[in-house]
Point group: C2
Chain length 132, copies 2
Amino acid sequence: MTCPLCTPENEEILLQTDSLRVIAVHNEANAPAFCRVVWNAHVAEMTDLTAPQRTELMDAVYRVEAAMRQVFRPEKINLASLGNVVPHLHWHVIARFENDANFPAPIWAAAQREAGMVLPDNWPEQVRALLV
Amino acid sequence: MTCPLCTPENEEILLQTDSLRVIAVHNEANAPAFCRVVWNAHVAEMTDLTAPQRTELMDAVYRVEAAMRQVFRPEKINLASLGNVVPHLHWHVIARFENDANFPAPIWAAAQREAGMVLPDNWPEQVRALLV
């Protein structure tokens, strides 16, 4: 199978380095305030990286978390590296709100309600501006 | 509300330091190969920690991941810091198997099948032995 993170299409990139990229995620109906940090090389697990690589990746995750906290003022940040479907290392960074579709359950659980919060249309630009 | 991670009961501790603890998790029916790394102090987000504290916490997560890979030889490791219900910083470290109850969906999605894998009864002891 071709890895969709090795041959990406239509990514809205907020930050790009030689090692990784940060993208705004728009196709998760239950989590509209969602960024993904993708390690560019095709490895599966954090423990497949060297220690400096892990630090580099997590520092990017923390920068995204800090930017999303500033832009969204969410109830909670959710971080997850799953990769069961696409075993190419990537981190989900998700801002959660008390009136989002699933709170307090994980976004992968069944939706409990219609999401009630309104996000600024230009949130990717706001997050991007905090990452440069 | 009293924080259940500040006043823990009946934790099976695999590693304990001044800053954090690693516990074996047995109450998640869909994820029997599950450890949790709990930051002892009551803070909510990774970006509430100092940089050295983040490094210390993630180094423990990576040690648990490495130990669980060695003990379980899983299809994938899942890492997640959610905390929507209990906003006290903790990491879920979950070994996933192609024949577990949810694979490849997250463990928080609806189960798709009865879990088919058999884990060694003494897996917490095996993980503990790799953490010391």
